[in-house]
Symmetry: C2
Subunit: 349 residues, 2 copies
Amino acid sequence: MEIRTGYADYNYTIHVDYGILKDCIFRYTASYNSVHFLVDQNVHALYKDGLLSFVQNPIILEGGEASKSFDAFKHITETLLERGIQRNHLVVVIGGGATGDAGGFAAATVLRGVDYIQVPTTLLAHDSSIGGKTAINSTHGKNLIGVFHRPKAVIYDLTFLETLPQHELLSGFGEVFKHALLKDEKTVKRLMDATSNGVSLDMMKPFIISGIETKMHYVTSDEKESGIRKYLNLGHTLGHAIEYKYKMPHGMAVVLGLYFMMFASNEEADRNIFDLDLFRQYFELHGYPLEQLGTIDEAEMMTLMGKDKKNQSTDATGFVLMHDFGQCYFTEIDSSQLKKYISQLKESL
Amino acid sequence: MEIRTGYADYNYTIHVDYGILKDCIFRYTASYNSVHFLVDQNVHALYKDGLLSFVQNPIILEGGEASKSFDAFKHITETLLERGIQRNHLVVVIGGGATGDAGGFAAATVLRGVDYIQVPTTLLAHDSSIGGKTAINSTHGKNLIGVFHRPKAVIYDLTFLETLPQHELLSGFGEVFKHALLKDEKTVKRLMDATSNGVSLDMMKPFIISGIETKMHYVTSDEKESGIRKYLNLGHTLGHAIEYKYKMPHGMAVVLGLYFMMFASNEEADRNIFDLDLFRQYFELHGYPLEQLGTIDEAEMMTLMGKDKKNQSTDATGFVLMHDFGQCYFTEIDSSQLKKYISQLKESL
């Protein structure tokens, strides 16, 4: 399966399938003088004698958020330079979302930008590897330092997902679920039916592809996030704060954020767009820790949300809410109202 | 005097004159929710009660290459975030070339890019502030980490130049001279006549403006440096190596690099395009340390030049040479030939 981006220029292909990695990479590397591989250490350990046996002399990244510190950024770029990277070289980044963010930022900045290919190895990375965002973390919040730098390709070999632990699968599924919400009610229903007995890899491929297509739609029409790309932040405003505070896997925190989004969307519309009981049961059945929402501190969450990049004001917090499945809108909720919603949500649990 | 860039989009104005800073800045700041000033500490010390008295609560940068370390980058971005920078805020970078590079890179990466204005305060920065290049340094060479990020404006208040020490003026003059070479023989002659009694600020304004226009021409037709923008590197390949090795002011090193460029251009063309004796006398009269060229180590220079971003090969080094005044070409000189040229140049001094 190949999905082609629809930008005005500098388009690229997202290849999605099982067992495609090696052939696909070689199709691209032929036109470069040299290739540098940045590989997550866990992925390297698991696949160095298998799927990645063709990878020579990789630069090993720590993996996870540790790859996204200033020190790691320095280490990656300095190592690439030590190895003599030049502008006609290619960087291939193999790993989860954090590895992709960090490796992408290094590729975007070394020599003021070299070409790179994203090879996501987690379910979550189906999301983060699309859209050209790269970033490292600040002490003030996640992804606060970065640039937009489109890859030359995304090669998504689903074979990698077979070794994912269940909590990683659940984390990635948070974004799959978000993409379904962004699409329409039918897709959400179909996804919930398909996962009624639990989240597993078997049934995921069509929903991954649909998610990538949905994300591409928003991203290509608004790369720099001045308009509708913001809708991809559905569930992320509170989600990021929870992720940061509780060190919870990203997609898990997003699910908690989505549940708050549903709650707030109902309140703002003064009608039941979302059947909260149904979604709460569904999320809890699959192992998402919704009970954590009962313990969050209003003031702390609001401070953390104030650091959100998309926030344009200090008295109110920008939120993406929904009029209906597939129909987002952006609104600013002022501080006292937001505090009230969080309190009400806590009580409702 | 206002010069407007000629890109397809995202154009900006370069304002050049005496005493324009405050009014000009206020014209831009009106449309932002907040402004963050990044100011070189030396410039701040000299002007905080004068030209910069309107600047409130600036973030002070160390100035010079110290601003361009990974640690300084971390400090600048973290401080901006600590102060609550948001996407609708403006960053104003006030200082020399290094401050502009470092401040520009911080503005380009914090929150994945916020708007910024360059306020160059040195003669050298008439060059570095045009073209949207931002960068920090690697242990492997200068400017090896960075991105392209166009400012919203460049405000070049020539009043700042009045306090420049003579060696700074000379360093900046190196780029002014390069821009004259890139334009035509008439401009070079006029510049040499105007400076026959030494380099001073009085006569510089028309040559600064002409230099900016020349640079804009190359930059707008080739922002990402795949073609003719390379010509702006005239004198810089060896220049950067000398600057790095001897910690010599940038424009001084560029003049030494220009002299080698003239030598190599003559050799490659097998005719005297440049009257080497004339230029050598002229450069030495003005205080450029051409004698340093007599002490450089061929092998070391070649290693350092191998780290140059524009280099596409390891067996040969890319150089910009000239067929004539105003007529550049790009060529690769292979290692043995390059070594020979450097040796011959050393002997000729």
